[in-house]
Symmetry: C2
Subunit: 431 residues, 2 copies
């Protein structure tokens, strides 16, 4: 019998703010950070890793919240864990005293996700499979049991979820074969950050095309004139066969969003991402109606399944951009993926940051094998930052995510990266 015996957290931060990487209209100087959790077991060499992505200040609070919640899983046995993660996840989210601080949102909710995802990493290592494959090999009943249906049943009942998973079951083997052969389409945000000069943007756009990407996303929302200039330059650079999406990172009010997007005078924009507050369900719907045929995408800051439910129920979004660490872990993301399937909205995960590509690819791959299958609507964000710190870095080939086959859930960082970038003790911060 193998047991979880300790939980340690690490406040890992990368000084990205110095270089303009990751700059957008809302976030001027992010230091990409990981509130990092290791669950150690009494089996030599077996530990579960996860992280919650933040952008600097407050990463210490996120670590402390994870440490507090992780106490609940110390003493858990590894055997049969996969069939208890649903209940463990519900218990973590429902700790009534911690819940008050959200409820089901923000630091404690993301902390619950950190703990849940570290458990999944353990499951993967025991089963010797990558996360996408562990999930894609669960029975429809096991998958359904992972979902917390509280507050969802007006949109998705357990019976409906079960039916969704059952429907794809006969196609799983073929879907997995296609995934292993071809991977999943990626898109890139690398050329599009607001902080870059025109020259940098053009150079990186050429590189992106050479690398096989066919969708490039640009940050917008600084000034309309500048956005027009950059979009025109980008169009000239990439030619007619490359698709462009834009991302405003929540800078607009609802009327401003509609006016600004119309002011860009470009109906070929594939999607407008985060046009306003992630909390504004009705606002997203008004924007979606106001900018048609351009479509709205959001999700990376949407704090739980209840908000996603409403975005889908109201028809406010045309693409759902799940995030690996914003919500209560793999379990809550499975709820979102199932709801998106029911409402016919493609899941196009958010990534970038620290380890988000490494983590979220598993969810997209699970979706492609066991929920919505392979289809044209799915594209997974890729940003080429910080992958060198991960034990299993993402592999992109000709603009596609190649399915990892190494066991794990994706978040495990190299020991020396954790050590050197520790915000309290690492040499990168205390040279």
């Amino acid at each position: 019998m193998t047991t979880i015996i300790s939980a340690t957290t690490h406040d890992v931060r990368f000084p990205t703010g110095k270089h303009g990487h990751g700059s957008d209209a809302m976030n001027k100087d992010p230091d990409y950070s990981a509130a990092y959790l290791i669950l150690e077991t009494d089996q030599e060499g077996l530990s579960g890793h996860s992280l919650v992505f933040t952008i600097g200040r407050g990463n210490d609070l996120q670590c402390e919240s994870i440490a507090q919640l992780a106490e609940a899983v110390i003493g858990e046995n590894i055997e049969g864990l996969v069939d208890r993660i649903g209940d463990i996840g519900r218990d973590l989210v429902r700790d009534s005293q911690m819940r008050w601080l959200g409820p089901e949102k923000g630091i404690p909710h993301m902390a619950a996700g950190g703990v849940i995802n570290a458990l999944w990493d353990l499951v993967c290592k025991v089963e010797q499979k990558p996360l996408w494959q562990v999930l894609a090999h669960l029975s429809p009943e096991q998958l359904t049991n992972l979902i917390d249906f509280r507050y969802l049943t007006d949109a998705l009942t357990p019976e409906e979820a079960l039916h969704i998973f059952q429907e794809m079951e006969p196609h799983r083997a073929e879907n997995e074969r296609i995934l292993l052969e071809k991977g999943l389409p990626a898109y890139t945000t690398t050329p599009g950050w607001l902080g870059y000069t025109d020259e940098t943007m053009v150079r990186l756009a050429h590189e992106a095309i050479a690398d096989g990407f066919t969708l490039i996303k640009m940050k917008v929302g600084g000034s309309l004139d500048n956005d027009r200039h950059r979009m025109k330059l980008m169009r000239e650079t990439v030619g007619p066969d490359i698709t462009l999406a834009i991302d405003a990172n929540q800078v607009w009010d609802v009327p401003d969003a509609i006016a600004w997007i119309k002011g860009l005078e470009d109906d070929k924009i594939h999607w407008v991402e985060e046009p306003t507050s992630p909390d504004d369900i009705l606002g997203h719907k008004a924007i979606q109606d106001g900018i048609a045929p351009i479509k709205v995408a959001t999700g990376e800051h949407v704090h739980n399944r209840i908000m996603v439910k409403q975005l889908l129920q109201s028809g406010a979004i045309s693409f759902l951009q799940i995030d690996a660490t914003r919500v209560a872990g793999v379990n809550e993301n499975i709820a979102m993926i199932a709801m998106a399937k029911k409402f016919g909205v493609p899941v196009c995960p958010h990534a970038g940051g620290v380890g988000l590509c490494e983590m979220v690819q598993h969810l997209a791959m699970f979706d492609s094998v066991a929920v919505s299958g392979h289809h044209d609507g799915r594209v997974v964000e890729f940003v080429d930052h910080l992958h060198e710190h991960f034990v299993i870095p993402t592999v992109i080939d000709k603009g596609r995510y190649i399915a990892p086959t190494t066991p794990g859930a994706g978040a495990e960082m190299k020991a020396e990266s954790i050590r050197d970038f520790d915000y309290q003790t690492g040499k990168e911060w205390h040279a």
Copy 2:
């Protein structure tokens, strides 16, 4: 010139979980707690106090988040502070690295409220007025400048807010006279907690009527049979002239809420409070439509003005229950009060907990003088717990909140209470 020179926080917790006080269908064993902030100035005896209410675990995280944000106001001058609090509040909420952890919700957002409210306490002490009066004596322009209109302008523009404040300006003196003479109607939750026996409930209900209350709120959602039994017993106890409201503390899904409320077979229920997740705008609207003529109330867990905006825009609620410490302080509550006025929804504040009565009464009184005036729809929650720890405890007379005249914003606790109930060092926890 007087300057803020330090910020200290205290993790104050009361062991209320032991006695069943505050128990409801969602929160079984809350230890009512205060993440307490003192801003000291270089003027002898002048300090600003505030607190964020939590229910136990995590109160330390809330304290630490407050301490981190409070660093931004060290060095602020007290002179002219009232005209800078709007900008300070916006800056606190927009710290981009901290914002990532919400955004605009949860621990850092409540922490911003803690800092903002301590600044208001300082303003009150300098002006030698209670908070309600400080606010009610501000010009319409000053009030408008306190509001963060980001994400609100599709529902409330600065011009509309100014107009709302201007419209009531000629009536302020008369409204203030009425307030000082009569106070504001209170309602009580004291008899209605789920953890109480029938005997305790009946005894406390008789006491409530003897004390002059005309609206009693009961916790529901444990079991339908028990709720029917308790409601019937309560009706028999209080007679036909007392109004009853019910509070489910978010335990239901949308279809369950409608079925349960109809199952109570009592159309005279004044409101149903928190029938489902506070995040579920569309769900509240569906419940409101499904249980008419019974009305829906919520707000205490609604995490910011953007959510309140949507509850009002969609007609999902008939009563708005603002909370003194859930959001980014007095400033964000003024935004909500102004929006409620525009949409014609009465503001009926949530209170109880630790110091929430002491704090939120000021907002209701400000509303009654300078925004919506005196009207029949307003009633302010009162729970008779823990008032003895406050320097200016609420005064209830014949079921009405009597307006405080002592300078302050309401949160200041007695020094010995802070000392004795400190969770790390106090004798109540370390006897």
